[in-house]
Amino acid sequence: MKRKAHRRKALAALKVENERAVVDMIRRWQALPPGKRTNFLRKRLRWGASAL
């Protein structure tokens, strides 16, 4: 029972942590001037794959 409650809390914390990381990533990208936000292009590779 205790382990289940702990797991629930850990997962909830992980979700919040993830949300924070996303907002952080957005803020870092937005901190750049618009003309510098250009490293977004993925190169097409074989077999339909792509990479940055």
Partner: protein, 166 residues
């Protein structure tokens, strides 16, 4: 991969042929501050016989091939360059936008590598993705909306700060 060389080349060529086109899609969202990636560039343009002629001229200047894939009625013109896999999609209709004029009015001029490009507003990109609702649109919608919230939050904070300083 840095999109600057391609964006500069495209922006210069658009200016040379005097074709008015607004960058939309994930590339526009990235330039407007959303941390997204893409493999191609999407543009919204007004479809007139003159503009279609300009598209052909643009393809020539970029050393690319212009073609209409599958359904001509869709109003999609695709420009591809085999040498480096450059792909530009020009659309005359997009989901979530009633007119080209409205999207153009809300768009921003953004300077990339010394050339200016008309880039759709983040709100318009979000509206379009919401309306299109394809799985790949829905996959990025959450991050787009969060970015929009952050942008609006930052501009409100800026406006409050400016008022406070008065």
């Amino acid at each position: 991969m840095d999109a600057t060389p391609w964006l500069r080349q495209v922006a210069q060529a658009l200016a040379e042929v005097e074709l008015e086109a607004v960058l939309i899609g994930n590339a526009a969202a990235a330039l407007q501050g959303a941390p997204l990636t893409t493999v191609d560039f999407d543009f919204f343009f007004r479809r007139t016989p003159r503009n279609v002629r300009k598209l052909k001229e643009l393809a020539g200047r970029l050393g690319a091939v212009l073609w209409q894939p599958y359904y001509p009625i869709s109003g999609l013109f695709r420009m591809t360059r085999d040498d480096d896999s450059l792909q530009l999609d020009f659309m005359s209709v997009i989901h979530g936008a009633k007119s080209f004029e409205g999207v153009r009015r809300r768009a921003d001029w953004i300077e990339v590598g010394g050339a200016k490009l008309l880039v759709a507003s983040l709100a318009d990109v979000v509206r379009s993705k919401e309306a299109a609702s394809r799985p790949r649109d829905l996959a990025v919608l959450d991050i787009l909306k969060k970015t929009l919230d952050e942008t609006e939050g930052a501009s409100k904070k800026g406006a409050r700060g400016a008022q406070g300083r008065k």
